[in-house]
Symmetry: C2
Subunit: 194 residues, 2 copies
């Protein structure tokens, strides 16, 4: 499966394409960053990022797009821009019929480093290692985009197994309730027949 | 000038088209709301809102798009969705070469009611009155979209007059500083020639 990871941002938007095979083997297909000038108009900056993301989608044909889930704990102004970028990226994916998955920064950190509180350097080190790269991807946004894609590849099978298990449990619970109900009805009818 | 006002939202996105003539006369061209199901997938919901906004742009040919500026004081989850919608709306405008203006809720309230702290009902009442509508536009998101468009029409000339005045003041300040500098140089040279 080929995943396009996106670390959304107006000034720097990280882009990383990763192929996942069987087991946990992952390969870096491409990595980069789309930049827009800080003094540009917001709509033009959004359009520039959207154009870049769409070019990557058309070039690399990902099967799924993984986007970092934005939180608003940090700087309000930059979070709004980041949310707007994540919106135009999700739109571009939806218009191409590509599924979109959102992962939180701590899910990404945990997936690649084993700890949800790993620092940026540790994430970059692990991404460089698991993808077998000669050098660490730069800037950090590019490394984060690759980490997102790897996180998606490693979490997706787990998530779908979990969803299957939950669906099976719900089915068993439904069947059990139905049996209880019919047993009660049986008792009721039995009582009335006396 | 024709303005498309957008009150961004995922569940309900308000749309209002207003024509402004000379003086303060304003006319309602169209008003409505784009809805998406709360249980839908985020990318699909963003695409549905974007499709609706683009249909309105293609139908009504606005000259400018006025969008409510999003703040993150409120519910984090809904603010993120609102920011993402405002991003896809700004993108649609940019791709059509339409200028985009952002106005804060208090700017809108002040423009239509005279007070930045007016409540929703007061804004709806004033929008209904200034546009000469037979009935109040519903839901509130639709009325807010019209209020945004009216706000833009009434603020735009003021804003451009203000920008002109500021540019003129800056020019005068530059000229004054240049005169001071050359006067100082003149004194310095005069002293050297003594």
């Amino acid at each position: 499966m080929r995943v396009l990871g996106i670390d959304p941002g107006l000034t720097r938007c990280g882009l990383g394409v990763v192929d996942g095979g069987r087991s946990r083997s992952v390969t870096c297909v491409d990595v980069g960053v789309a930049r827009t000038p800080a003094d540009g108009q917001l709509p033009d900056r959004l359009a520039a990022v959207a154009d870049a993301v769409e070019r990557w989608m058309d070039t690399h044909h990902p099967e799924v797009v993984a986007i970092e889930r934005v939180f608003s704990q940090h700087n309000v102004r930059s979070v709004m821009g980041t949310a707007q970028v994540s919106g135009v990226v999700a739109l571009a994916a939806a218009r191409r019929g590509l599924p979109v998955a959102f992962h939180t920064p701590s899910e990404v950190k945990a997936a690649v480093s084993g700890s949800g509180r790993a620092d940026k350097k540790q994430v970059t080190t692990m991404v460089t290692r698991v993808l077998g790269l000669d050098a660490a991807p730069k800037p950090a946004d590019a490394a984060d985009a690759l980490a997102l894609a790897v996180c998606h590849l490693w979490r997706a099978p787990m998530a779908s197994r979990l969803a299957e298990a939950e669906a099976r449990a719900a089915e068993l619970a439904r069947a059990h309730k139905a049996r209880l109900k019919s047993a009660q009805r049986g008792t009721g009818r039995g009582g009335g027949g006396r």
